[in-house]
């Protein structure tokens, strides 16, 4: 039996003070926790994980605005071969889905959906009334071209034919205010922003032999809780069943951000539970096998509890909320945080005669070093400006530090029993002596050469893929339905758009009009179905003046002609309203349709531009043609193409690159810290992790997994965790190496268990993270003892 190598008096008093201070800390956190759980501050927005485009604030604003607009909207489409059946199925859907929230009597009686305000009749009437005085200055491009080119005689003929048609023709203005019926056509162009049209009091469209009813619903805000409920999916399922019961063969499609958000939240909830409880169970079983006692596992549970509570409090203090994915990631903390407790109890088990406090003070340098390297790893995780990653980094650093502090300052006081030895722990201790070791032999060099070749081949085969779309975690059925809804409605995609900047609001509108002239050519040749632009709703002042002059000239002529043919006397209505301004429009109810397109004031750029708007594309025929469409912006002042998918992918790639460099720097830093304590033996603690890093990359290549940012982040974490094992073995090489090995085996097994479970996550980023760490931890675990110094193998394990 070996004795602890530390000598000298133990600073008892300081330890006591630290324990009390820590208790005070825990009380404060406990109070905060009480309020935290009462008002659950869990975030579910997956986009919050992604970085903002830091180079152009207007792009970030545009993205947020377009996303905000969509965060609560759910579009449901009910299709049937004929209109009557479609209406019947839609009515059945609505009845079932809308009442779905009501059967949970313990919930505030609140349906998961409320009717979208955009579909209202009153809104349409107000919008028509708002625009009426400006009729003469609003033309579609086709109307403008026709009025400019058509001979006056043809225009007169057309006006006369309109007068002869059966019935009144559903005019939107008096005949003398719109003799060529230009106004209804302008409205049609505005309505064509989606393919849906009002029909019998509902929105409808026909496509591919099916008649569709389009239902616009809204969820009443963020109804997500930690309960993992899926009220929207539940309501949709009930509605679908009812619709199909009413009309067999009816089709029901649903799309919208809330569906994906709810799915992600419920998955995250499920995974937090599975992974968290799974790794807790694993840790408990291992602790039981090793110590056959309640104490160690109870104390480790306390240290974990304190760590997680502090992590939650700190994260909500700093970020205002805790993202659900952070808690999923945090669940894996369980695997790391108990390493300290295991190391302590394994050492105590090996030397029951040594007093707890003395044992702890002996272990402290190694524990602190292990904490330091782990914190370095987590810290690197928080370096890229991904809000989500920073949260996870803070959560982990605080959590692991909390567990560490609890272990160090409390365990010696609370731990009164001396853990008995078990057959399991004895077997592991004994196995250390038999474990092979790399000596300075020829065989060692041959093995390393073979490893180098294998890893080299793997690294060569490793593919890099930064595409954001591979991080999409929604199930295919949801994604397909979403795509189908988008295609049927022909709505604009929020992922690609033009940002138009100008020196004033009117300048922005003028520049939009220059861009639209180019886009019109692409609409004509079918590349695009259309676009959405603010200047469709509010043309620039100069465009309004030109169109007002054009309609006055043409309509005066037409009215004079009609009067001559029919011997009549009507006069053209007076249009004396001042030009429509963006400010007036934004303040009116008419702005509902396009407000999200206006970004507004942005920081003044060098070219003097200080306002910006968004022009979106509708119905892009071929996504591969997007780069070509993007060239429409070439040479136009203030117009810039934004492809969110592509730019976020590029950002992910940039951070992957940066993080790879930081990882190398991290390895150097850790090696430096190790050298400071262990001198020339430092490489023995570092080498296993370095080997695991390279080996993991090779394994990822072998499994066909592309390298992306999240793999590199996992490798940064591996550095922090893996080096711990080397430290423990080096620390105890002259004392109780078997105890150190026991704590490494237990620690690695439980860490591996928790990250192995993370690899099962259906969130692709977490899956990549978990898979990388499971490979890495396994390699470190198996390889670390191979690099132990010769002295250790000579030491007889107790």
């Amino acid at each position: 039996m070996s004795l602890p190598d530390a000598t000298g008096p133990v600073p008892r008093l300081r330890w006591q003070v630290a324990a009390w201070l820590w208790l005070a800390c825990c009380v404060v956190v406990g109070v905060h926790q009480w309020t935290f759980w009462r008002a659950s501050h869990f975030g579910t927005d997956v986009m919050a994980l992604l970085p903002q485009d830091e180079q152009s604030p207007e792009v970030g604003r545009a993205t947020r605005q377009l996303a905000d607009q969509a965060t609560r909207q759910v579009v449901v489409m009910v299709g049937a071969p004929d209109w009557a059946s479609a209406k019947k199925a839609a009515a059945a859907w609505e009845q079932a889905a809308m009442s779905s929230g009501g059967d949970n009597t313990w919930v505030t009686a609140r349906a998961p959906f409320q009717r979208s305000a955009m579909a209202g009749d009153a809104a349409l009437r107000d919008t028509l009334a708002f625009y009426a005085p400006y009729r003469d200055r609003l033309l579609t491009p086709a109307q403008r071209a026709q009025l400019e080119r058509a001979p006056p005689a043809a225009l007169l003929q057309s006006a006369l034919a309109a007068l002869a048609q059966p019935g009144g023709g559903f005019r939107l203005a008096d005949w003398n205010a719109d003799p060529l019926a230009l106004w209804p056509q302008w409205w049609l162009a505005r309505a064509s922003e989606t393919r849906a049209r009002p029909r019998d009091g509902q929105l409808a469209l026909s496509d591919g032999g099916l008649e569709w009813v389009v239902l616009l619903e809204e969820t009443p805000g963020s109804a997500f809780t930690m309960s993992g409920d899926t009220p929207i999916a539940h309501a949709l399922a009930k509605g679908r069943v009812a619709a199909i019961a009413a009309v067999p063969g009816a089709r029901v499609l649903a799309g919208g951000v809330p569906l994906h958000a709810e799915y992600a939240a419920s998955r995250a909830h499920l995974e937090t539970n599975t992974i968290g409880w799974g790794s807790i169970a694993g840790v408990l079983v291992l602790a039981w096998l090793a110590f056959r006692s309640l104490w160690p596992r109870l104390l480790m549970a306390v240290s974990l509890l304190v760590g997680v509570a502090m992590a939650l409090s700190a994260t909500s203090w700093v970020f205002g909320e805790v993202h659900l994915l952070t808690t999923v990631f945090g669940a894996s903390l369980v695997g790391c945080a108990e390493d300290y407790g295991l190391y302590y109890f394994a050492s105590r088990q090996g030397a029951p005669g040594v007093a707890p406090l003395r044992m702890m003070s002996t272990l402290l340098p190694g524990l602190a070093l292990a904490l330091l390297t782990s914190v370095l790893g987590y810290f690197a995780l928080g370096l890229p400006p991904f809000p989500g990653l920073r949260q996870m980094a803070l959560f982990s650093v605080v959590g692991i530090a909390g567990a560490f502090m609890t272990t160090v300052v409390w365990f010696p006081w609370i731990d009164r029993g001396s853990p008995g030895r078990t057959r399991f722990s004895d077997w592991i201790r004994a196995s250390f002596a038999r474990y092979p070791r790399f000596g300075a032999t020829r065989r060692t060099w041959i093995v390393h050469a073979a490893l180098a070749v294998a890893c080299g081949a793997g690294l060569v085969a490793l593919r890099v893929n930064d595409d954001l779309r591979q991080l999409q975690g929604s199930p295919p059925a949801l994604v397909d339905a979403q795509r189908e809804v988008g295609r049927l409605l022909g709505v604009a995609s929020p992922a690609q758009f033009f940002v138009v900047r100008g020196t004033s609001a009117d300048d922005v509108l003028q520049r939009e009009e220059a861009l639209k002239t180019r886009l019109d050519a692409r609409v004509t040749n079918g590349e695009l179905a259309g676009y959405r632009a603010l200047s469709d709703w509010v043309p620039s002042q100069s465009r309004q003046a030109a169109d007002a002059a054009l309609t006055k000239r043409v309509e005066d002529g037409v009215i004079a002609g009609v009067n001559q043919v029919l011997g009549e006397t009507p006069q053209r209505a007076r249009f004396d309203a001042p030009a429509l301004t963006l400010a007036a429009w934004l303040a009116s109810p008419a702005a509902t349709a396009g407000r999200a397109l206006w970004i507004g004031a942005v920081p003044r750029a060098d070219d003097g531009t200080a306002f910006a708007s968004v022009v979106m594309l509708r119905g892009v025929r071929d996504l591969a043609a997007l780069p070509d469409i993007a060239r429409s912006a070439d040479g136009l002042a203030g117009v810039r193409w934004v492809d969110q998918v592509q730019s976020v992918s590029a950002l992910l790639g940039r951070y992957r690159h940066t993080m790879s460099l930081l990882l190398l720097a991290g390895h150097a830093a850790v090696l430096g810290v190790l050298a400071w304590r262990y001198g020339r033996r430092a490489w023995r603690a570092w080498m296993p992790t370095a080997l695991a890093t390279v080996g993991t990359l090779a394994l990822l290549a072998a499994f066909g997994q592309p390298l992306q940012l999240f793999n590199v982040l996992a490798l940064a974490l591996l550095l922090g965790i893996g080096v711990d094992y080397g430290i423990f073995l080096l620390e105890r090489e002259n004392a109780d190496a078997g105890a150190a090995w026991l704590s490494v085996v237990l620690g690695a097994a439980s860490t591996w268990l928790s990250f192995g479970l993370l690899a099962l996550s259906s969130t692709p980023a977490l899956h990549a993270f978990g898979l990388t760490l499971s490979f890495g931890i396994l390699i470190v675990w198996l390889v670390t003892p191979l690099y132990r110094p010769a002295t250790v193998s000579l030491q007889k394990a107790p």
Binding site: Q157, S158, A159, R171, W175, A181, L188, V565
Partner: protein, 206 residues
Amino acid sequence: MKIVRRFAVAAAVLCGAPTWSAPASDVTLVRERVKIAAVLKGEFEQTKTLKGFRNPLVSRGEFLVARGQGVWWHTQQPFETTLVVTQTRLFTRNADGSASDLVDAQAEPGARQVNELVFALLAADLDALAAKFTLVAQPVGAAGWTLVLTPRDANLAKFLVRATLSGERDVQTVRIEEARGDATLIRFSHQVPAAALAADEAARFR
């Protein structure tokens, strides 16, 4: 020409509540007296009263209504112009026989609804009309009837106050009163029912 597009816009406002039946006796009365043929042709005289015009605008011509095919509306006086409404198209036939300014019903689904409404009005198709209007019928003499149609939907009511149909075996007059104060009266005469379209008539819809 623009007129066809007005039909498309009309579609955007033609909204009705769920089907509701007028008092059975009323509708039954008209149903018993009117005879809906698959094909109906004849002559019309339309009198439009428009705000700002001193005199009513009177036009005359011939028409053809074919169930499932569409409406052919040929104005001969005071000027020559032809409008054709079919399931999928809306177009004007020029003097030289060419078609122009068509609106594709696939691109603009409202067109089909307008076609259905126009056909229903001219042919007194009660089932189709009852979906969009409240119907009140009254007998006139032994064989005659009038039918007053009031829009059910607020959006349609913004354009149309009411439509009044009268007739015996066929619809004889259609009176349309618009919310803006304009009004149209169409008188039909020389109606000839037929079981099917002749070949040259069918060509008018292509």
